[in-house]
């Protein structure tokens, strides 16, 4: 941690922002749609019910 700021990862952050540049759009095809749904399944936590139910906050403003 530096005195200047509390960030630990200026480098990885810059990389993440660059990674946000849009990839080619292949989703017009049905293969693209299947591919999208596969990717969604790969990033979701496996236990949907527990994941959602466990997200309880106190009320905010």
């Amino acid at each position: 941690m530096t005195q200047e700021n509390f960030s630990a990862r200026r480098e990885t952050q810059a990389q993440a922002l660059e990674a946000e540049q849009v990839q080619a759009n292949t989703t017009g095809t049905s293969a693209g749609v299947d591919d999208l749904l596969d990717e969604i399944d790969s990033v979701l936590e496996s236990n949907a019910e527990e994941f959602v139910r466990g997200f309880v906050q106190k009320g905010g403003q």
Partner: protein, 457 residues
């Protein structure tokens, strides 16, 4: 106002998911998240080098309030910078937790409701002239705000009479009043808390707490851009039709729940337009206003084009022209597509998980970000603008002064404090500068105070 100060305050939902079975309370998770902040600023309520405020709010919600901005894209960049700051904290907290033997993942959601129905907000601030009569402003603005969810709702799933429905807004079911000073016990559409953070003789801060948080930069552009245009119309003093609603709160809910935009809204005048007709009316008035007075910035045309495109899409019930631009439409396409492919009902846990994970700010696993990477959700910013906003204040507002003061104070290692209007040096001979002009970018008193701080004590 031709030049207006804007600010966005975003409360994030926080959840720690252990992979070793050991849970953390939200308070504990928030404490871990903010440990680097406390180490940096000796408080969980700090102003950062970019002029923004970062703090833990009511209910242990991490909150990021952008610095004062005076341009739309600048404001959106600073709001997105808040997400980057939070992600940075998440990464550090996960590492720290692992060192303490807690294996798991921290999730931050830029949404407005948790699984138990607790709500937290995205608050919009607009500087307005003091001379505007507030009741007149509220009368004219509330019909717009009540129907604005058609343009920029985040989309949500709610149970209405035993049936799970896709609705426009997350926040609509949590609003209880038209105008008041409360924020938690009873949430109003417009909050009257009058802390202008500016010269109160000339300015007032309009605090709008009815909006959904926006994942999409395009949705954010429309949300703030359209509201600014309606405010200009009101500020001009040019009369417009009386659109006061008989019951804004009943209307805001029924409008959210009717996905066709055809909810009938009773006006005090006795008229009964649909939500969509009200929006068309306001758009028509705004377009005529812009035609008379000209565009006051380079995004006006884009805002008006988007606004009209959304209304056409709802009217035709063909959402494809907006399903990469508007949060509710992006999410609707995602959820209905996924449900159909997997033969799931809207009340299935997996669909609830999609609805939540759309708002995960992690660029690798958040579903909005996943869609954006695939070119299925639009952006309006060059990522370099966000990167810059993480480090640097808006150059055109008082935030530049605050940033200069904070950097200088930290370089000396001396004790200091700041808020929106004060800059205070707390050692030696000390000193405080009050800067009430949010448009000021230079101030000789601040320069003098910095000189004083640099002297040996």
């Amino acid at each position: 106002m031709d030049r207006r100060i804007f600010g966005l305050e975003t409360e994030f939902g926080l959840n720690y998911v252990p992979s070793d079975g050991r849970r953390l309370t939200p308070e504990d998770a928030a404490r871990h998240l903010f440990r680097p902040v406390v180490a940096w600023g000796r408080s969980s309520n700090v102003f950062l080098n970019n002029g923004s405020r970062l703090y833990l709010d009511v209910g242990s919600h991490p909150e990021y309030a952008t610095a004062e901005c005076d341009q739309l894209l600048q404001l959106i960049a600073h709001d997105r910078a808040g997400e980057a700051v939070m992600l940075d904290l998440v990464e550090q907290a996960e590492e720290q937790l692992l060192e303490e033997g807690h294996e798991g993942r921290l999730f931050l959601f830029k949404n407005n409701v948790d699984s138990a129905g607790n709500s937290y907000g995205c608050h919009e601030n607009y500087l307005i002239p003091r001379k505007i009569e507030f009741k007149r402003l509220a009368d004219m603005l509330i019909p717009f705000l009540v129907t604005r969810q058609l343009l920029c709702g985040a989309g949500h799933l709610v149970q209405v009479q035993d049936q799970t429905k896709f609705v426009f807004s997350q926040r609509a079911d949590h609003m209880w009043e038209g105008v008041s000073s409360a924020t938690t016990r009873s949430r109003p559409i417009i909050n009257t808390r009058d802390e202008p953070h500016a010269d109160a003789e000339y300015h007032r801060r309009l605090h709008v707490i009815v909006g959904d948080s926006s994942m999409s930069e395009t949705t954010q552009l429309l949300k703030i851009g359209a509201t600014d245009l309606v405010l200009r119309l009101i500020e001009s003093g040019e009369i417009y039709h009386d659109l006061r609603l008989e019951n804004p709160i009943r209307s805001i809910r029924s409008i959210s729940h009717e996905f066709t935009g055809q909810t009938v809204v009773r006006l005090m005048s006795g008229d009964e337009p649909t939500a969509l007709q009200l929006q068309w009316k306001i758009l028509e008035l705004v377009k005529a206003f812009v035609a008379r007075h000209g565009a006051h910035h380079d995004q006006v045309e884009r805002v008006l084009e988007l606004w009209e495109r959304v209304l056409v899409a709802i009217e035709s019930q063909d959402f494809s022209p907006i399903d990469q631009d508007i949060d509710w439409a992006i999410k609707h396409k995602l959820i209905t597509g996924y449900a159909k492919k997997n033969d799931l009902a809207l009340d299935s846990p997996r669909i609830a998980q999609l609805n939540l994970t759309y708002h995960d700010i992690d660029p690798n696993r958040g579903l909005f970000h996943l869609l954006r990477r695939r070119g299925l959700a639009s952006s309006v910013l060059d990522p370099a603008m966000i990167h810059d906003a993480v480090e640097n204040p808006p150059a055109t507002t008082r935030a530049a002064l605050r940033s200069k003061f904070i950097r200088a104070a930290r370089a000396t290692g001396r004790r200091y404090s700041t808020d929106w209007v004060h800059m205070k040096y707390e050692e030696g001979e000390g000193g405080v500068v009050l800067c009430k002009d949010p448009f000021a970018t230079s101030n000789s008193s601040v320069d003098e105070l910095i000189e004083v701080m640099r002297r040996p004590v």
